[in-house]
């Protein structure tokens, strides 16, 4: 009986799939093709979509003058690939982003978003969202007139970003803010102010990404005066963080504007952050910066210090030889260069002393510098640099558990270069550059490497 009934259900489903009825299961609908009226039609499809529906975009170039938005849940928006289906917002005259998603369980896959006036793709309060095989680009290259964020999930639980390429963002290419349960993997961030930024967020795995030619590579920040704070439990591993030497082109008021060009990985005020097995090359200020939030704040619920930071088994190549930004004068006093790992040495705020827990567990020959700034807000003139490593925590902070997302198809991790192969043509030169940097990168990763 049981077998019979489930078999008939399957038959029914097969019939339904075969007859391609209208409405639900919209995968049967022919892909939307570019052309006059396509912009309005796509917005109409996004408004009228039913849960479970897939909206398919044909290859080609779609032009928009207004931002798109998707508020329905369980909808997939799928193009023919990030080099095939291009959504251009060069002529955009309204809305703060190219595509805004506010529904849950949405999948965005296989298209490029170009030249939005504000952010590229934003998802807010959109739980269990997937960004896959996408490109978000500002085609004129790094420019302060570009939008702030490329992909921008915020206030969401469950974020999967994979095989996404972002280039030109005037803040962060891949930015995840005030969210939890996050994976950013196998993606490329190039020529942005910050490549990847995890901000005021918890439970994140950032791995297998190629992060190059940004001003700062990977940032893990916790900032005051926001509704969601206390970002923690973040793993940054197996990333390639190369030549993040683009001059910082962020508008001055943004916190990211203070990141010195040439920063590889920066952890600021976040806690329980584990940085391991990354390859760091040619980041001219420092490969790794660990710092307190350095500005005054009146937020009474905010802790400006990083806690339980672990640095281990990273592979450090050349770098730190031309420090920029606020660290430049300091580096000059030290003979023009900084160590691979720089910690600001802040151990008190609001007159309150705390035990610093920066666990510098790298091999003894990895350069380290403690600026001994003491308290925050910081005054760099008070630096008393020393290469003495701080005493590690009595017990090494346990590594956060791997992030498991129920909606993650959990495909085996794609090699980074596979993502590069899918990158648009004008990024191929960057891939070549990355390859050259790879060749430059002499030794294979130490034990613990892949």
């Amino acid at each position: 009986m049981r077998l019979g009934s489930s078999a008939s259900v399957i038959t029914l489903m097969a019939l339904l799939a075969g007859c391609g009825g209208p409405g639900r299961g919209g995968a049967e609908r022919p892909p939307l093709a570019p052309g006059p009226g396509a912009a309005a039609e796509l917005q109409r499809l996004l408004i009228t979509a039913q849960p479970g529906e897939t909206i398919t975009l044909a290859a080609g170039r779609f032009e928009f003058t207004d931002g798109l938005s998707l508020d329905q849940s369980k909808v997939t928006l799928k193009g023919a690939g990030p080099t095939e289906t291009v959504l251009s917002f060069k002529g955009q005259t309204s809305a703060g982003e190219g595509l805004l998603v506010t529904g849950d369980d949405v999948v965005l896959q296989g298209f490029a978003v170009e030249d939005t006036k504000g952010d590229g793709i934003k998802s807010k309060g959109a739980d269990r969202i997937t960004y896959r095989d996408l490109a978000v680009l500002w085609t004129r290259g790094p420019d302060p007139r570009n939008g702030a964020y490329g992909v921008y999930p915020v206030e969401s639980t469950g974020v999967l970003i994979e095989r996404v390429t972002v280039s030109g963002a005037s803040d962060a290419g891949i930015y995840v803010g005030q969210s939890r349960d996050i994976i950013v993997r196998d993606s490329r961030a190039e020529l942005n102010v910050a490549g990847i930024e995890i901000e005021n967020s918890s439970n994140a795995d950032v791995h297998g990404n190629m992060v190059t030619l940004n001003a700062g590579g990977i940032l893990v920040f916790d900032l005051p005066d926001l509704p969601v704070k206390d970002g923690r439990s973040i793993r940054v591993f197996d990333n390639q963080v190369f030549a993040n030497d683009t001059p910082n082109f962020a508008p001055p008021g943004n916190i990211v504007a203070s990141v010195p060009s040439g920063t590889g990985i920066m952890v600021m005020a976040a806690s329980d952050v584990h940085v391991f097995r990354n390859q760091l090359r040619l980041n001219r200020t420092a490969h790794v910066l660990v710092a307190a939030y350095f500005l005054p704040t009146k937020d009474p619920a905010y802790d400006p210090l990083p806690h339980d930071i672990v640095l281990r088994d990273n592979d450090y190549g050349p770098g730190g030889d031309d420090p920029q930004g606020t660290l430049q004068p300091l580096a000059k006093a030290l003979g023009g260069r900084l160590a691979a790992v720089v910690w600001d040495g802040v151990d008190s705020y609001r007159g309150q002393r705390v035990t610093p827990t920066v666990n510098m567990l790298e091999a003894g020959d990895v350069g380290f510098l403690d600026l001994q700034l003491g308290s925050t807000p910081v005054d760099l003139r008070s630096a008393r640099p020393t290469d003495q490593r701080p005493a590690p925590s009595p017990e090494r902070p346990p590594e956060p558990a791997p992030i498991r997302l129920a909606f993650d198809p959990a495909a085996p991790a794609t090699p980074v270069d596979a993502a590069a192969d899918g990158a648009p043509d004008h990024l191929q030169t960057l891939k070549e550059l990355s390859d050259r940097l790879n060749e430059l990168a002499a030794p294979p990763p130490p034990q613990g490497g892949r």
């Binding site: 006036k117 702030a148 008021g253 943004n254 916190i255 009146k298």
Partner: protein, 365 residues
């Protein structure tokens, strides 16, 4: 008979209500109001006329609301590219609005709130030659509000359901007498929700008690009128306790409350803890007590190039360095605030908020 205040300068409409709730029954019996079924379920009708909110009138004639469709006006209104707005609310038979001292009044299931936008060729004389552009409808269903945009036809005889919104190019004479180009945007249905979001739900924005109450003692008071006619359930004490919010344009009133009132109605629908801009940490509601949350000495978070050269949302004493003014003054997408609903800037709002920031003591930062 009780005369009902109209939103604009149109003719005063006589309403069949006699005195109070008891009289409403008599009104219902002779009812020619809109059929409520349309409002309770099903897809939106394709035309505005199908709702029967208004009597049929000559094209371009003032809207003539049918029974139980009440015109109303707000003390302060969102700036929408200088468009004039006609506001109406429909209440189902026998139902009444429930009072809320702080938030939006609670409208019964089956109600609808309508806002009709029009522009005139010369904005110095907004009544002459005005053409209706769109009517936005919020419908209160059992599971919450839904929002539907309708765009008026060229003949001005009816409006058509337009889920994707519309664009219209207008060349008018501005309030300053100079030519003004308006790239008018009818928001799409999702954009309706962006502004009307409260948590996961949609909510009206304008009709709070304080924004409906008469600005002065000698002015007609809509809330008292509704209460007297049994349309609003509120005690006289609660009614008397409603805060008075200043009209932003009334320069005889103090600067700071007017600026706060402007921010409240123009920004706080998104910039509140349950709104679309919750993640910004910038909260601009009328009763927001925290200076940093209001933007004073607050650094931008996700403003990107919207920050311009500014370091703080509000730099006390320095409107020219304040990101808030920079964004209010811009019409560029990615910079301009509000993000939706305007293509030109609001000179009154910019001047008012600038003057307020200039008067803030620098020590506040």
């Amino acid at each position: 008979m009780i005369a009902l205040r109209r939103a604009n300068d149109g003719p005063v409409v006589a309403v069949c209500a006699l005195a109070a709730a008891a009289a409403l029954g008599g009104c219902v019996a002779r009812d020619r109001g809109p059929p409520p079924a349309r409002l309770l379920a099903g897809p939106p009708p394709s035309s505005l006329s199908a709702f029967k909110f208004f009597e049929e009138t000559a094209p371009g004639a003032p809207l003539a609301p049918r029974p139980r469709v009440e015109g109303y006006a707000l003390v302060n209104a969102l700036f929408s590219d200088h468009a004039a707005k006609d506001r109406h609310v429909y209440l189902p038979p026998g139902e009444e609005v429930r009072f809320d001292a702080d938030g939006v009044l609670e409208f019964p299931v089956g109600s609808a709130i309508l806002k009709t936008f029009s522009l005139a060729p010369d904005l110095r004389d907004p009544a002459r030659g005005a053409r209706r552009i769109e009517t936005r409808i919020l419908v209160r269903r059992a599971d919450g509000w839904v929002a539907w945009p309708y765009v008026w036809n060229a003949a001005q005889t009816d409006a058509t359901y337009a889920p994707v919104g519309a664009r219209q190019s207008w060349d008018v004479t501005g309030p300053d007498g100079k030519p003004l180009h308006i790239d008018y945007r009818v928001p799409n249905q999702n954009q309706c929700k962006t502004c009307h979001q409260h948590g996961d739900a949609i909510t009206p924005i304008g009709p709070t008690a304080r924004n409906l109450r008469a600005v002065r003692d000698d002015a007609p008071d809509l809330l008292a009128d509704w209460q007297a006619r049994g349309l609003l359930n509120v005690s006289p004490e609660a009614l008397a306790g409603v805060q008075r919010v200043p009209a932003v344009a009334d320069t005889t009133l103090p600067l700071a409350p007017r600026a706060r009132a402007w921010l409240d109605i123009n920004c706080a629908h998104c910039h509140q803890r349950a709104g679309s801009a919750s993640n910004s940490g910038l909260y601009l509601g009328w009763s927001e007590p925290v200076a940093t949350a209001l933007g004073v000495g607050k650094r931008p978070v996700a403003a990107g190039r919207g920050a311009g050269d500014g370091l703080f949302v509000i730099d006390p004493g320095h409107p020219e360095r304040s990101i808030m003014v920079h964004r209010m003054d811009s019409v560029e997408p990615g910079v301009a605030m509000p993000e939706l609903g305007r293509s030109v800037h609001d000179p009154v709002g910019v001047a008012l908020v600038s003057a307020w920031i200039a008067a803030l003591p620098r020590s506040m930062r």
